[in-house]
């Protein structure tokens, strides 16, 4: 299967088209509002449905208005972060989408509370709200769950999930349509941490890899280094009597940091007087989920769970809100939101930023335009929510705990999977182009890297052979050259099987049925007249008895006291014969019935008439002069553009050595004419295919 991006519309129907379209509706050369459309063989799949964290209201949505929501067959959500799942309640309740939605169990459980929290904290007017709590509640039942590695099939689209690391329940989806495999990584991390396993490497090779590029060509520092730097920083800050602020996103990385801090505190009794607060009611709500879905975590946790639950912390207290907080001395506070747009982390930052003893540790990815990103460039002043300017004196440190893949991991991942196409999404334009350049340099020519912009479709061509399995009685003999093969082609989920009609029931749950018809009509005329008319039409009648005749060897006609009953097995051909017989019977009834004997007509082709018709036909087809006006015997010729085709009317042969296409054209015209003029003969076994029965 080769691959040249091909543009333009294809005349073939979407179902048979070889073109795979990947179109980011969000997260194309940006971070946030992940939403990618896949289209292949008439199937439409949406990957993720997120909102943009930096925008609000309708602006935060991906460009969903560019697609027909009701045509989407399947929606897969990779993990619970709002930039991957935040638009889902809107999409489920405010659009005509009627396909199926899948996510993992843990994702669904956390998603429920995360979105509900988002509804509460987003401080915009009700008109601008995309959805309400009740919308969310009502849409929960629409979401189906899938376990890791479990294979599902939705109308021919096969898909399954791999562990992606990143956060609890994060999944990478492998999607297979008609043999073409696409791997969507979502956000992933190949580095094992305290509670999550590293992203798994699929055992099958995808044809297209759609991957995130958040960190571009960065390389993360080692986990041990990063953790010791982090714990060192924290103990420095509290050691100098300062307050340590760690703005985090409520779920995901926060749990990892809690595990690190709790362990560090239990190893350092001297620190145990310094309180660690975790200010998030959301996290508290979701702890039950963390305590339950341990099977989605790494082996360490799974082993530990048998002894005690690592998510029961000994040194960390929950802080309900700023009102419950007494700011009396050194402490460590983890507060959301992670990028300090507003909320508790912003409040604490503003009240602490003027004291050089205090410190803030940015532990995750920051989107352009947020306060967290601003202070990383170490400005002298910051602007508070109320517009006041404050000097920034507290220490600012950045340790990336965000579980996104880095260049090393991505490159290794690609090396193992060897996908011919890599599509980059979820990354800022610069990072993305740097990553693209680096990947292209490293995998010289082996892969094609694409970086589609939002709404810009990327078309890839997959030329697959359509293969079918011949089974049952048709396959008893191995195929020979030139051998005829006839049967029913059964197509299901892009699998083709060829079966004899009789085997249908054996290999599929489909059943072959039979329909018999019995049609009765009034006939007051005489029997001989009827016989005459029918004989003229059918050419031959089998007389089973005086009142039971068989016509066309498939229709039985019974005459009972002025009623004719026709009985036959339904089928397009038999139906047509039956209709003809009905017509003939009706016309016989309409005829005045002279009792005179009608000599049975020998149904025979009138050869003179046929010849006249032939000439007339060719004159119509090729012009007045193409055929001689008069001819003798059965030999005839047609001249078109100085090419001459010889015709033998007796054997129905046409010869034209110079122009074979003319010969075949003349031949088929001749055959059709002959068939039209010669009386209908009962079919030898079964009749040749005929048009479907004419409407009455």
């Amino acid at each position: 299967m080769t691959t040249n991006p091909r543009k333009g519309t294809d005349p073939v129907p979407a179902e048979e088209s070889d073109q795979l379209t990947i179109r980011p509706l969000g997260a194309g050369q940006e971070v946030g509002r992940s939403c990618i459309m896949l289209e292949f063989k008439g199937k439409k799949i949406m990957l993720d449905c997120g909102i943009h964290p930096g925008l609000s209201g309708m602006d935060a949505l991906p460009f969903i208005d560019l697609i027909e929501a009701d045509e989407v067959d399947l929606l897969l959500v990779s993990h619970f972060h709002l930039d991957h799942s935040g638009a889902l309640p809107w999409f489920l309740t405010k659009t005509s989408f009627k396909g199926r939605v899948f996510m993992t169990h843990a994702t669904k459980a956390i998603y429920r509370w995360l979105v509900s929290d988002y509804i509460k904290v987003s401080n915009i007017s009700t008109e601008q709200m995309l959805y309400t709590e009740s919308d969310l509640e009502n849409s929960m039942d629409r979401i189906e769950t899938i376990n890791f590695h479990e294979e599902r099939d939705v109308r021919g689209v096969k898909f399954w999930a791999y562990n992606a690391g990143h956060v609890l329940g994060a999944a990478m989806f492998m999607i297979e349509i008609a043999g073409v495999k696409i791997l969507y990584t979502g956000d992933f991390s190949r580095q094992e941490d305290r509670h999550l396993m590293a992203a798994e490497i699929p055992t099958v090779h995808p044809d297209v890899l759609i991957t995130e590029s958040t960190y571009g060509t960065h390389i993360h520092e080692k986990r041990e280094e990063r953790e010791s730097r982090f714990t060192g920083l924290v103990s420095d800050i509290v050691g100098r009597g300062g307050r340590c602020l760690i703005p985090v996103f409520a779920l995901g990385r926060a749990q990892e940091l809690l595990l690190i801090l709790d362990e560090y505190w239990s190893l350092h009794p001297e620190l145990q007087d310094i309180p660690i607060y975790y200010a998030s009611s959301l996290a508290k709500k979701c702890m039950a989920v963390y305590q339950t879905y341990v099977n989605a975590m790494n082996d360490r946790i799974r082993r530990q769970i048998a002894i005690n639950n690592p998510f029961v912390f000994r040194h960390i207290s929950n802080l309900k809100g700023i009102d419950h907080f007494e700011d009396i001395g050194p402490c460590v506070i983890m507060a959301s939101p992670g990028m300090m747009q507003s909320g508790l982390s912003r409040e604490l930052f503003e009240s602490w930023c003027t004291d050089p003893k205090n410190g803030v540790i940015i532990a995750g990815y920051c989107v352009e335009g947020t306060l967290a990103k601003t202070i990383l460039s170490e400005p002298d002043e910051i602007t508070t929510m109320s517009g006041q300017k404050l000097p920034l004196r507290m220490s600012v440190d950045y340790i990336s705990f965000s579980a996104h893949t880095d260049y090393q991991q991505t490159s290794e991942f690609i090396n193992i999977l060897k996908p011919p196409h890599v599509v980059l999404v979820h990354g800022e334009q610069n990072e993305m182009s740097r990553l693209r350049a680096a990947l292209e340099r490293e995998h010289r020519g082996a892969i094609l890297v694409h970086t589609p912009r939002n709404t810009q479709p990327l078309a890839l061509c997959f030329r697959g052979d359509t293969t079918a399995k011949v089974m049952g009685s048709l396959a008893v003999d191995p195929p020979k050259e030139g051998q005829e093969l006839q049967g029913i082609l059964v197509k299901r989920n892009f699998n083709y099987h060829i079966l004899a009609p009789a085997d249908l029931n054996k290999y599929t749950e489909l059943v072959q049925s039979e329909v018999t018809q019995r049609q009765s009509l009034q006939y007051a005329g005489s029997v001989p007249l009827l016989r005459h008319v029918l004989m003229q039409l059918a050419g031959h009648i089998d007389f089973l008895s005086e009142t039971r005749w068989r016509l066309y060897s498939c229709i039985e006609l019974t005459i009972e006291s002025s009623t004719i009953v026709l009985e036959w097995r339904a089928g397009p051909v038999a139906d047509m014969y039956a209709d003809a017989l009905v017509g003939a019977a009706l016309s016989a009834a309409a005829l005045a019935a002279p009792a005179a004997t009608h000599p049975p007509l020998a149904p025979k082709l009138d050869r003179m008439h046929f010849k006249e018709c032939v000439i007339e036909m060719f004159q119509d087809m090729f012009g007045e002069d193409s055929v001689p006006k008069m001819f003798k015997g059965d030999k005839l010729y047609v001249t078109v553009d100085d090419k001459r085709a010889d015709i033998d009317l007796q054997s129905m042969e046409v010869r034209c050595p110079e122009e074979p296409s003319l010969a075949s054209c003349v031949r088929s015209a001749l055959q059709h004419l002959h068939a039209a003029l010669s009386p209908v003969r009962p079919p030898p076994g079964a009749p040749p295919p005929a048009p479907p029965p004419a409407d009455s």
């Binding site: 929960m140 039942d141 005690n308 079918a468 396959a475 049925s513 019995r518 009765s520 030898p684």
Partner: protein, 727 residues
Amino acid sequence: MTSIIKLHCLSGAGEETPPCYVLQIDEFKFLLDCGWDEKFDMVFIKELKRHVNTIDAVLISHSDPLHLGALPYAVGKLGLSCPIYATLPVYKMGQMFMYDLYQAHKNVSEFDLFTLDDVDMAFDRIVQLKYNQSIEMKGKGLGLRITPLPAGHSLGGTIWRISAPGEEDIVYAPDFNHKKERHLNGCDIERLMRPSLMLLGAMNADYVQQRRRLRDEKLMTTILTTLRGGGCVLVCTDTAGRVLELAHMLDQLWRNKDSGLVAYSLLLLSNVSYNVVEFAKSQIEWMSDKLTRAFEGARSNPFALRHVQLCHSAGDVTRTPGPKVVLASFPDLEAGFARDLFLQWAPHSHNSIVLTARTSPGTLARDLIDNGGDRVIEMVVRRRVKLEGAELEEFLQQQRMNVTNTVREEVAGISSDSDSEDELEMCVVTGRHDIPVRLETRLGGCFKSNKRHHAIYPFHEERTRADDYGEIIKPEDYRLAEIVDAEGEIRDVPPTAPIKQEQDEEMSEVPSKCVSSVRQVHVKAHVEYIELEGRCDGESLLRVVSQTKPWAVVGLRASEAALHTLKKHCESEGIEKVFLPSVGETVDATTESHIYQVKLTDGLMRGLVWRQAGDAELAWLSAVVAPRTHARESDAAPEEGGGAVSLEAGAGRPRAAAFVNTVRLHELRAALARAGLQPDLGAGTLTCCSGTLAVRRMENGQVSLEGVLSEEYYKVRELLYEQFAIV
């Protein structure tokens, strides 16, 4: 292509012994389940031993000893070394089952058939799978694919689908439940379309089941009447399978304030009850949709059982005062705490014994089910007693001898066992097999409590809350007397658990011996059999056969009568191949299938006219095998050309049209009604237009259309044809 398919029955065929079969597909041999009966039948083991070296993979379908009991012996003593496949809950719960089984026997006898090391070794071999996860076999089994499908019956219970090359589908379904239960989903019957061979546990083929509601009510009344009469109820159940359904159900009953049960105790007694409940809590994703939804919505774990006290010894039960309900293992009453309690409680008429499952013939429970209670039965009573006097002397002598002979480390190992009751880490380090009971009680949530010691002298601000008139409001005054409920909330880990451990340790530490005696027990207690096995009933089992329409059926693990019923049903369904083997027999289900692959050219595909039939699309294909352009000897992939074009040239043979699909009269009626033809359905005949037209279903599945010549005749015919895919 011909696949050799043979099934050799080591056990569980023609009679109700545990399932264990060798399935051979060409060169590859699967061991399907590896059950052991309650009496540890050695004849079966001898038979298994002969095959153990040839096995390439083991598939386990449920977590109880009936399906995997012999696994530790096979791995530990017979050297079974191939991969074992099971779902994650079967792995976890199966281990619990075997620990409990071992401990139950070890408590009363010198049990040496397998050790806990054998259990661990066996379970280390297990490859844990998820439902619907397909695994390809390697080596000899190339092309074979196994898929576990949900079966109901027990958590993680599996129906195995084995796909062999050539579109062969073998389904192994020893025990399944098509009905939804409280904590489990029913099995997926639709995914088992037209298997070529179905290995079916037919035990229930002639079994008529009572309605679930009736059975639940019966259990409820038994419990209520016994408790109110001051007696105790012993519910005989298993360790980690059906017990979950029972525990969940009873806990819900207890929660119901109107049930009046809150005053009584509900106990779950087995050697591993704490761990079973903990594991159940972390396997919500394997349970019924209803439970997962509830968890997502309310974040309340369905197995955070409020009213169930977890117990680990018979002593815990006696310490709990008053009438109580005890769920105890094992259901067969041959071993475990259930037997101990039975001995204690059976002679008193105010007690009740509830049997929940038909165990193998010959077990005490089965005897009670078949012959009823209120009679004298002879029981072998085994127990472990402390050594005294001369025997103790002798033992100590022996011990001293051993000590001098062995290195000190070993002694350290033994002694650490003895005081492991207060140190968790110790338990882990010394590799004790019982996953230790966690002693610390969990604080309200996941965070440490905010009450902390202050560095300075603490000053507590007295907050008094007064109402508008200055009267101090004491919340206590308004609290309802809900002590039991409040306690239930807090009680996550039974307070009695630590004491139990001490006892246990003493037991294994103190020199002891096992004695057995035969005792006459007059069963006066009310014996009630309430079937809660969670298996498919007879009627549904046969319906499953009719729906899936397998090519061949092997009836397994059932009485003769049940097998006879199955056979008769299969014959009426037109399934020709029905095998009813007995133990030791081999069934040869080798089939000959013809199959080859062809490529369909674009030209051919374009000429096809597709018709929809169910979820499939059909087209009439008429083609000629084209000359081979790139002949490869291995795969016959001839290109095809022709199609409609070659038909015109005389290539296509004339044929009769095929009507595919079955017509449903009520669907047709709806279609006719939409067209305004006022149809009337009755007695297999659909009439319309004041009886001048009729559509009839014949006995042989044919449909007939009758009527007088009229415009409606053609309309009806058109609508009738729309019900079919005509190719």
